[in-house]
C-alpha cells in the first residue's frame, strides 16, 4: 500500500520556485494562496539552503486533531484531505500545522477569511474524481490519472521528490550514497515520526537508517 510523502533535498533545491508555479498553474490557485512555497534559510550567507514547503501529509496530522468540525480525513494512500463544504475557516489548523500549510483566501472586505485551502498531493477531494466540482474546490486530481504531484514532477533539479514513501526514500538513499553527503531530510521527523526500528534522529538517507515505517491502516476515516 502506498504511503504518499514529500521529500525535499536541500542540497539540490536552487530556489527556482518552479514547484510553486507548477502548483499554481495546475490547480488554478487564486492570488494570495500558496499551497507550496520555497523557504530559504541563511539567505545570502555561505551555506544557505532552500526548501520547498507544503503540506507534508503527516502520519499523525495535528490539523486533523484540532479541527473543531472534523472536516479532515486521510485517504487510504495516506494523503490528508479535507471537505471544504464542512470547513468553517476558523484557522485552528493553521496554528497547529508545523509547516504552515493551511492557506486562507482573503476574499471579502475587513479581512474576511475563506475556507481553508492546502496541498492535496494532487489527489483532489471528496467530490467525484476529476469532476468540475472537484477541480473548482480542490484542484486537479492527478493521482486519479496515475500521476504524481505536479510540483515534484516539475522540479528541474529533482530536489523535490513525491510519491510512495519507500520508493522516494530509496531514491534519496541512492542519491546520498552517490554524492556522499547531505543525508538530512528536512521535516521528515516532524511529519512522519521515527521509522519502525529506527533510532532517534535517523533519517532515511543517512547511512544505517532503517527504511520508512510501513503505512498505518487508514480507510478514509479520521485516525
Amino acid at each position: 500500500m502506498a504511503r504518499m510523502k514529500f521529500l525535499c533535498d536541500a542540497e539540490r533545491c536552487i530556489e527556482c520556485n518552479s514547484c510553486v508555479t507548477a502548483c499554481k498553474q495546475e490547480h488554478e490557485i487564486p492570488w494570495g494562496v500558496n499551497r507550496r512555497r520555497v523557504v530559504t534559510i541563511n539567505d545570502g550567507v555561505p551555506g544557505e539552503r532552500s526548501i520547498s514547503v507544503a503540506c507534508m501529509h503527516c502520519s499523525d496530522a495535528p490539523c486533523m486533531a484540532v479541527c473543531p468540525v472534523d472536516c479532515f480525513y486521510k485517504s487510504e494512500d495516506g494523503v490528508v484531505l479535507h471537505d471544504k463544504d464542512l470547513c468553517i475557516g476558523c484557522g485552528y489548523c493553521f496554528y497547529a500545522c508545523p509547516f504552515g500549510a493551511p492557506q486562507f483566501p482573503q476574499t471579502g472586505a475587513f479581512g474576511v477569511r475563506g475556507k481553508m485551502d492546502k496541498c492535496t498531493f494532487c489527489a483532489g477531494g471528496p467530490e467525484p474524481d476529476r469532476s468540475a466540482a472537484e477541480f473548482q474546490k480542490y484542484g486537479r486530481n492527478r493521482l486519479a490519472e496515475g500521476k504524481l504531484p505536479a510540483c515534484a514532477e516539475m522540479c528541474s533539479t529533482k530536489a523535490l521528490l513525491g510519491g510512495d514513501g519507500d520508493m522516494i526514500a530509496n531514491i534519496y538513499r541512492d542519491r546520498v550514497t552517490h554524492r556522499g553527503k547531505g543525508g538530512e531530510v528536512w521535516g521528515w521527523a516532524t511529519a512522519y515520526k521515527l521509522p519502525a526500528g529506527g533510532t532517534p534522529g535517523a533519517q532515511p538517507g543517512a547511512p544505517g537508517a532503517a527504511p520508512p515505517a510501513a503505512p498505518p491502516p487508514a480507510g478514509g476515516t479520521k485516525s
Binding site: 472534523d70 485517504s75 471528496p126 467530490e127 529533482k158
Partner: protein
C-alpha cells in the same frame, strides 16, 4: 359563506401545522472525532484504472522512478 370561511381557516390551520414536516435538517449530526464530510473514493476507482489497484500502483511507481536520475541516466 360562513362554512366556507371555517373550511378555509381549517385548511390554513392544517397547512400551518404540517408546514415543518417537509423541512430537511440543515445541521449535521455531529460526532466528535469522526470525519463528518462526504465520502471519497480511492484514486484508482475510476477510469483509466477502473478499480485495478495493481495497475494504478504500477503507474505511480513508474512515475516515481522517473524522479530518479540514476535510473533515467545510466552511469
Amino acid at each position: 359563506m360562513r362554512s366556507f370561511t371555517f373550511a378555509a381557516l381549517g385548511i390554513a390551520a392544517i397547512a400551518l401545522l404540517v408546514a415543518g414536516c417537509g423541512e430537511r435538517p440543515q445541521v449535521i449530526n455531529y460526532k466528535q472525532g469522526t470525519y463528518q464530510g462526504k465520502p471519497d473514493t480511492p484514486a484508482y476507482s475510476n477510469a483509466p484504472f477502473n478499480g485495478n489497484r495493481q495497475q494504478w500502483d504500477n503507474a505511480i511507481d513508474t512515475r516515481a522512478q522517473a524522479q530518479n536520475e540514476y535510473v533515467r541516466i545510466r552511469d
